[in-house]
């Protein structure tokens, strides 16, 4: 971020402008942070006060402090742990199998010589514009016909192969230098060995972006699980959260505990892989 528009911040800016600038930026920061901080504070305070303090700055203070009672209460009422496990199984399944499948197809499209390659490339690019929601109803119908509703596989399989991610890998592989691959081939390595030993390690940034993006997307899914799950056994977090807050009595402290537990994994990924997280999000219009 060396040289750019930023002439306004140079030395000699009037003090008044500086103060105004920071005031605006801080007010905006409060707007973005407040709901997150409110949820964290609320998850540690007495139920009744979460609601009562929702309109004051007291909402940010976890008093009366109740420790982890809200988390325990949430888990007793709706099996938070089970929903967390379900979401983890689904997200990891999609992320891991998806990364392997999509990158292999992307590599075949970018680097290997085969008949039909260009046709596949064009096809994948066109398919990338179809939003999942347009496919949900026929998929629901098909899965109901084969009796796969309320399983993990019905929540994983449709999301493994993703034309958009295939395309991301394809463009990434197109842009890495060929020399190393060719050296490996000269040494007698076959395409598979070349891919696993040489190409995939070079593509770490692409894997990171796609993995983070896939995780973000699958962790938040609500529409599809609404249609294909019943009861608690394979129900993921967002749907469990929805069920929890629509069945009385409303325990806002426990609801906030639920929200926090759902947010922590993404927050952790964000703090640890901040650069890749931001790049991943920026590389797509997929989220929603």
């Amino acid at each position: 971020m060396s040289n750019n528009t930023a002439t306004r911040g140079r030395v000699g800016t009037p003090r008044r402008v500086k103060v105004l600038n920071y005031t605006v930026m801080t007010l905006l920061a409060i707007f973005f942070v407040f709901p997150v901080a409110f949820a964290f504070a609320g998850s540690f305070k007495d139920d009744a006060f979460v609601f009562a303090d929702a309109g004051t700055l007291q909402g940010l203070v976890p008093t009366p402090f109740v420790g982890f009672d809200n988390y325990v209460a949430a888990n007793e009422r709706i099996s938070l742990v089970l929903a967390f496990r379900n979401s983890t199984v689904i997200a990891l399944g999609i992320v891991l199998i998806g990364a392997v499948t999509n990158s292999m197809l992307g590599y075949a499209m970018a680097r290997l010589q085969w008949r039909g390659r260009m046709l596949i490339v064009t096809g994948i690019v066109s398919l990338a514009i179809i939003p999942f929601e347009a496919l949900a109803i026929p998929l629901l119908y098909a899965f109901a016909e084969v009796g796969w509703l309320n399983t993990f596989r019905v929540q994983i399989l449709p999301f493994i192969a993703n034309p958009f991610f295939i395309y991301l890998f394809y463009t990434f592989f197109l842009n890495i230098p060929k020399e190393m691959e060719e050296a490996a081939r000269v040494d007698g390595a076959g395409p598979i060995r070349t891919f696993v030993r040489v190409v995939a390690p070079l593509a770490k940034p692409a894997y990171a972006s796609v993995a983070i993006l896939t995780f973000l997307f699958s962790w938040g899914q609500l529409l599809w699980p609404t249609m294909v799950t019943r009861g608690e056994s394979v129900r993921p977090l967002p749907l469990a959260l929805q069920a929890f807050q629509t069945s009385p009595p409303l325990q806002w402290g426990a609801i906030m505990a639920f929200v926090v537990l759902m947010t922590l994994p993404l927050l952790a990924v964000f703090l640890i892989f901040q650069r890749q997280f931001v790049e991943g999000v920026a590389s797509s219009g997929v989220k929603g």
Binding site: T5, A29, V33, G55, I137, P191, L266, F270
Partner: protein, 314 residues
Amino acid sequence: MTTTTTVTAPPSTPTKRRRPRPLKGDARAAWLFAAPGLILVLLFVILPFLGAFGLSLTNSRLVTPLSTQFVGIDNYVDVLTDGTFWGALRNNFVFGLIVVPVQTGVALVLAVLVNQRIRGRVVYRTLYFLPQVMVMAAAATVWKLLFSSDGMVNTVMNVVTFGLWSGDNWLQSTSLALPAVIIVSIWQGVGFQMVILLAALQDVPNEQYEAASIDGASTWQQFINVTVPGIRNQLIFVATITMILSFRLYDQVVIMPQPAGGPQNATRTVMLEMVQTGFDRQLIGKASAIAVVFFLIVLSLTLIQRRLLKEEAR
């Protein structure tokens, strides 16, 4: 996983003659690499896509002993003469027409602010991006509380209007429920746009600013004449992507108001309509027709986006 059994040595043709030409003779390996992805794309993208068109011409139901019949365009007539559907479509448009300019504008302001060479800009950038770690279902839940009669939103409104604003439960009001959904959506989505615009801002060559500055252009004139044209493509990109996303609006309107899409359909959207038709009422045929209409809207927006971006490329 489908691939494990086939990973054996590839055909050992090459290496003897010359250098391995751009990896020739890889056809078998290529198909092997491509097969799992292609099979899944066929099963879970292409077939359901065709299925949506096919089912939309039938009276299919989710679970029924009755046989499925071809009904021609009946479902489309049904959908397009349904006032509820048009109401939902209208909500999507209103949502998009407000969110697109506001969110893009706010994102641009944020990007410019954190692009200044001032102390603490990285911290601010991180804070503005923070809502991205809260998935929509969670964000909507928290905001639901903040939008209640005694919630923070009313407190702030009351302060900034010097007491003129009297509290109201946003989510139970037919006129305020959709604005509440809009605010949450912008709160959650704007960080994504900011990141894209920030990257664009940093690519605008410094010389252009220097030239403008020598010509005596004020900061504002520089912004209008150098910055905005310089990031035109990214502005179009984020605006059109946001418009497309506004037709996928679902999570917020299910979580926040009671009942979903309420009050009195004030926040009903096309996606909610599709799910309730196909899943709750089990009318697969009609729901597929909604899916096709939805796809056609997204397709036209995508074509408009490509057109606009291509014009620039010339």
